[in-house]
Amino acid sequence: MGKFKINRFWSVVATILVIYGIVKWAIPAISRNITSLPFPLTVPGTLVFIYMTLTCVALFALVTFSDEFLEEFVGPIRKMLRGEYTKALRLVILIGVPLILGWQVYDITVPKVQLPSSLRIQHPSSNFPKKFEAMKNPFNEPSKDRVTAFMKQVKADEITFIPQVQKDIDTWKEEADPDHTLQFLPGEAVKKLLAEVKAEKITEATAKDALHQVDLFEGRALYAMNCRPCHGDSVAGDGPMADGFKLRPINFTDNGTIETIVEGYTFWRVMNGGVGLPIEATPWDSAMPEWKKNLTDEERWKIILAEYDLAEKTPRIPESE
């Protein structure tokens, strides 16, 4: 023979234990490797119940398949009940099993101290005014007038910036004595524009691209002053203030955040902050300020421009206009 055969009773017990082990521990453990999330995904209680019921039904069908099978399964139980494995063991089982069961019932029914779960809709639309849906960031597509005015400023090298960055630029100019004010600004467009300034033939297209770099620069400065403390240097929702908030600041580099919403929505959210949210979005837990109380429309649009740029994302296209 050589084939090792274990008693059907023990194989049934082992099957139940193995399947329970898989559902309860192995699946969550594997889930961590698949999702690479820092926590395991547990199998929901109802699903565990369904799996275990199915297992028991299948095992019952197997055991009652023939009288021989049934006899083999019941044998050890009967032997135990008759006290053939010593009376002490019988006593332990007959008292222990009910006690474990009673404890289980108590454990399931007793009220536990658990954090009240509060589900939250992140991008609620119930009070989102439709007029914001198609709103465009004016700095994404600067008007012809702005570009023309900018070209004049560049030509005369008399460019005005927002006061927040002006001081630093003035100090730099004094110290570095550059050929042109825009020399500090990053971007190929700026290099191209400076070459055009030298050759004295500034084109509108280049000026427009360079103006975009100015807007981004100002937007990044405003972001660093106003938003960075919570949303972080790299817009990852991890600023120095972030750990104090139970509802953490949003990580804009995550998929499914600012790329799933239209620009107008971002503008509306920045404007009205946490307290402007409807109740399904738990406004009481949100630390997002009502920026309309402190920042101008232009400042907020510039910040949004810089934010999408830093996150390397583009906003969702609005529904039919």
Binding site: P98, W103, P186, P240, K246, A287
Partner: protein, 551 residues
Amino acid sequence: MQGIIGKKMKIVLAATGLALSFGLSAPGMAADQPAKPMPEATEAFVEKGREIYMRRCSMCHGLLGDGNGPAADYMDPRPRDFTLGTFKFRQTESGELPTDNDLFRTVSRGLQGTGMQAFDSDIIKSGLSEEKRWQVISYIKTFAQEFGDEELDPIKTGKLVKFPENLPPFSDELVAKGKAIFLKAKCWECHGKQGRGNGQKAFDRKDDWGFPIRIRNVTLPWKIKGGSKVDDIYMRFSTGINGTPMPSFAKALSNEDRWALANFIKSLQHKLTSNQVLQAKKVAGEVPTTPDDAAWKDAQPMDMRLTGQVVAAPRWQNPGVELVTVKASYNDKEIAFLLQWDDPFKDATHKLDKVFNPKDISKVGAYNSYVAANDMIPRALETYRDSVALQFPAKFIAGTKKPHFLRGNSSNPVNLWIWKADMAEKNKSGAEEAIARGYQQPARAQTKEQQQITAKSVWKDGQWSVVLKRSRMTEDSNDIQFKNGQFIPMSINAWDGSNGEHGLIMSLSTWHFVFLEAPTPMVIYIYALLAVFITGGLGFWLMKKAQASNA
């Protein structure tokens, strides 16, 4: 046959194990050591670095690298001034320049507890790749002439601080030895006996640029800028922190002594609790009324993280209180809370003429709505008081609804239990009950008859302990009532006076919960007993049946 299978199995197992351990350890290895040394700083390479610098760094560090970018004035510690070549976190001897790898480490993992965050693209998606980090470092090095001087190169001159080998692992003996060194080397003169930054020499220290320096509370691991691991702490003792009063102990203490000291500092670090619900402890007799009552030992602690009040102007990003540990104890009639937080200096005076008027920074289009770190408000002793407030909803609301965590609003007011150090000094309690209906108006104290809380407080070794007590139920409709079995929202506002905090310039937490255990309903015991008797009975019946069939 079997041998071959066994070998194959072993290989498979080893491969799986290797893959698993690699996969698991990968996030922890996030590189603060470069894979390759810094490439040659050609003109094109430095120009690429300049572009990155102007995009990602200049807002704080300034176009000239002088640490005067638009966002700089609001941060404490301030962004580094690169022009002097003075760098704090190095693995070189005191006063020396940093190595390229030192700069790489700082750019990659950031300096925790400051505005300088990690820029490693393996940690943060929109961070910088290794090559880009090298590019920006090559540009940063152009700000200080010292980097061009070969005689100052710490590698060529052999000024590196090497990490010694064969150091003993963390142990109680090592910690005890470290503690003795801590006392002997007089670390406590600045850092305080408990490491809370509360030494006599701690206040009013200045850095090389003349900016005030706050001695770090080394018990809060997230505040240790150079890193909270033992190796990092050891390095600080061995290199000193250039530009600050923190000296190097490389000459005064041996390697082993510095290692023991680092282990002692490590042992002081606070381990945060993770519960969001504070389970109040039921006591049979009186609730404890003083902070030193032994009864507090049995109560469950809950750590509440606080941060700067940045929700509304005047905003504040330099919070003085970042952690309050709370306990609660109750009986049938009363409930008492114990609040403990680190505050290096006791501030028990409050000068009303020094109160900041935020109107210039609160309007639309103001330059900035944050309070500057150094010029707007005095961050000095004997100016503002230390204070703390427990905040509850004025009315318990079933479900998840709560007032906004910053003082609620007109339809959802909050009940504040405020304790003020200066009042405590005068009338031995210092507690006041107030109602707030939004942050726009200051909280209003309740009438004399409605004042029902009492307080006992003590400041010791750089730590406040305050007990606030009230009867669980009151007649007042604007008071929270402490019924059993309810998750009662609770949050904290705190003010560190010598950190300039008063009014909305404060530290605060978001909502946590306090829970008074409900007695277990009788029916649950009955269910459990029923289960025991039914299965027990069934078992014995089967036993009888089995024995009968045998006979």
